[in-house]
């Protein structure tokens, strides 16, 4: 609890410090990290607590991003309309996809969620009115009213931070509720929970819908942040990236999504933007190959630290 409070204070102070130092770019970068943290945290609910290997989470993030963007493009700039609409659309989509997919198990569940996400990817690709495969550029970010200008990086940062903290608190509450206990029990032994008379399917579906809705909110924020959205937010590699973040951070750990998003995006950024002279001497163009490093780190983590970074930290503490 004390650690969470400390982290939160640090996150609140961060943009002020950066503004003072004149590194406003990092405020925007941190917003992006936190948005991905929200998306990864929502996937962590499904993956880590629900034990459902959904390989199509990008569909919900993408649906939220597109609904919010299309509303802005059509002149409905208010975030109070756009963001709830994104959440509702993603929740509805998650309900449809979940209702069908959850009838399958194991590998087939992975594949069918992937198939639905690909369907969405191609549908969005064909929406020529909204950019098709070139994507949709927005004139501005959504408007929040209340005298707050989301175009200001620091204001945007605080809004995203608020959403992230709310998402983490919600995850904490859900996991420790009766609902969460049942969910974890299903993950551990589905047949036993079923035998106890619990409607497993309904619990899993609700979990899937909650996660989809949160993913949609992350998508809406993502579209606002970049003032741009293209079909690649729904590509299966994006679903894979979100999965990586969850695993990297820690499956079924409260902070797993946050740690994973920060480490992965941070790693990419550091490799791409900070040349190391000694490495550049050995391999002159290494910065263009950042994902080689990301791939190797990921492989090592999967092979040698299956509990992720959060798992490493807590294991050290217990040892």
């Amino acid at each position: 609890m004390r650690k969470a409070l400390f982290t939160t204070l640090l996150l609140i102070a961060f943009p002020l410090a950066m503004q003072w130092l004149g590194y406003l770019f990092y405020v925007s970068f941190a917003s992006r990290v936190m948005i991905y943290a929200i998306a990864a945290t929502s996937l962590n609910l499904v993956l880590g607590y629900g034990g459902m290997l959904s390989f199509g989470h990008a569909a919900f993030v993408g649906a939220g991003a597109y609904v919010a963007s299309i509303l802005v493009a059509e002149g409905v700039a208010s975030a109070w309309i756009g963001w709830p609409a994104a959440v509702a659309a993603s929740a509805a989509l998650a309900w449809i996809i979940g209702a069908i997919s959850l009838r399958t198990r194991g590998v087939y569940f992975i594949m069918i969620t992937l198939a639905f996400a690909q369907m969405m990817f191609y549908l969005v690709n064909s929406m020529k009115a909204y950019g098709g495969d070139e994507g949709l550029t927005l004139p501005r970010r959504a408007e929040l009213g209340l005298g707050l200008d989301l175009g200001n990086e620091v204001v945007f940062y605080y809004v995203v931070l608020l959403v992230l903290l709310a998402a983490l608190y919600a995850l904490h509450r859900v996991v420790h509720s009766r609902f969460g206990r049942v969910l974890i029990a299903i993950r551990e032994n589905e047949a036993r929970v079923e035998a106890l008379g619990v409607p497993v399917y309904r619990y899993q579906l609700l979990c899937f819908v909650i996660a989809g809705a949160a993913g949609g909110l992350a998508g809406a924020l993502l579209a606002s942040h970049g003032k741009y959205v293209n079909p690649n937010v729904l590509h299966w590699l994006q679903s894979g990236t979100l999965m990586i973040m969850v695993i990297l951070g820690g499956v079924g750990h409260l902070w797993g999504g946050v740690i994973g998003a920060a480490v992965l995006l941070g790693l990419e950024h550091v490799i791409a933007d900070y040349p190391l002279p000694w490495l550049a001497q050995v391999a002159p163009n290494y910065q263009q190959h950042a994902s080689l490093g990301v791939g190797i780190v990921l492989l090592v983590i999967v092979l040698f630290a299956p509990q992720g970074i959060a798992g490493l930290i807590s294991r050290k503490r217990h040892a």
């Binding site: 993956l47 290997l53 390989f55 069908i100 009838r103 399958t104 198990r105 194991g106 590998v107 087939y108 992975i110 594949m111 069918i112 992937l114 198939a115 639905f116 690909q118 369907m119 191609y122 549908l123 690709n125 064909s126 020529k128 098709g132 299966w236 590699l237 894979g240 999965m243 990586i244 695993i247 499956v251 263009q288 190959h289 994902s291 080689l292 990301v294 791939g295 190797i296 990921l298 492989l299 999967v302 092979l303 299956p306």
Partner: protein
């Protein structure tokens, strides 16, 4: 004119489907025998195409280049299996998905380091012209060769799996791994061999398709998902299912791309139709898969009895 067009597009669909089958066959065996999700299968397809491009340049002959690329890819595949993938068999699907996803990133970048982002593999000049199949139906010779190669490989594969001792062991492994182990089958060696064969099939598909598509980094990713769709439709572990699924997906995709815009054009504005047609064709494949999974969760030809 119309039926010739349909025939031509069906042949295109068959040609694409057969190449998909080559990818799916290796994937379905790996999946069926070891219960292992290998996302890096598409990377072997890419490696096969890049290797073929280099060997064709070195030897100056298309045939020799392709024939060299096949064993080279098989060796790379077996190295991959022995060094990394082998440790993943006992892990859960999540670890397998992530580790092989990491391999995609690594292999993509390594290919970019060695070859650059793309390579050229021109069509052999002797096969670049059309052949008159029927009066009025002139079909590219190279595509006919692909169909021939695909059918031949499918036949060899069938004979290998259905009629030989090794094939029997493979089928035994796919239908019940524990039982096969208990009967004294050296699953480890068998699997390395199967993986090598799968990689070789990837190289065949990669190098044959290369003159038609582009040889570039990332070429394996989209076709990999199609191959997964194929094996899920066909039933995991079943070669016959992979063949049926691949031809189905190939034909639906190709015919859909060719005719859906025309069909939609009857109802919508041409601009809308030309945009929505190809997308709808792509969606249709996944729709077929969702429907098959919903009604027959084990696929059309389940391998496990």
């Amino acid at each position: 004119m119309s039926w010739i067009l349909i025939l031509e597009q069906s042949l295109n669909g068959l040609q694409f489907g057969l190449m998909l089958f080559l990818l799916a066959a290796g994937l379905t065996l790996v999946f069926g025998i070891m219960d292992m999700i290998n996302l890096a299968h598409g990377s072997l397809y890419m490696l096969g195409a890049f290797l073929a491009s280099t060997f064709v340049q070195l030897t100056g002959s298309f045939l020799a280049g392709v024939l060299l690329a096949i064993p080279a890819t098989a060796v790379l595949g077996m190295l991959l299996e022995v060094s990394i993938l082998r440790t993943l068999y006992t892990r859960d699907h999540l670890s397998q998905v992530l580790a092989t996803f990491a391999l995609i990133l690594i292999i993509n970048e390594l290919v970019r380091l060695v070859w650059g982002s793309d390579a050229a593999l021109p069509m052999p000049a002797a096969l670049s012209g059309p052949v008159e199949l029927l009066p009025g139906l002139r079909y590219p010779a190279y595509r006919l060769v692909i169909i021939g190669v695909g059918l031949a490989v499918a036949l060899v594969l069938y004979l290998l799996v259905a009629k030989t001792r090794v094939g029997m062991l493979v089928r035994a492994g796919a239908s019940n791994r524990e039982m096969a182990l208990a009967m004294g089958v050296d699953i480890k060696l068998l699997f390395t061999l199967v993986f090598g064969a799968g990689a070789a099939l990837c190289a065949v598909a990669g190098s044959m398709l290369a003159p038609l598509l582009a040889v570039q980094v990332g070429m394996g990713e989209n076709i990999l998902i199609l191959a997964f769709v194929v094996i899920v439709i066909g039933g995991i572990g079943s070669i016959r299912g992979a063949l049926v699924g691949a031809v189905l997906v190939g034909v639906v995709d190709t015919i859909g791309r060719a005719f859906l815009p025309i069909l939609l054009g009857a109802f919508f504005q041409p601009r809308v139709a030309s945009a929505a047609g190809p997308a709808l064709a792509s969606v249709m494949i996944y729709l077929i898969m969702a429907v098959v999974l919903y009604f027959r969760p084990q696929g059309l030809f389940p391998a496990r009895g």
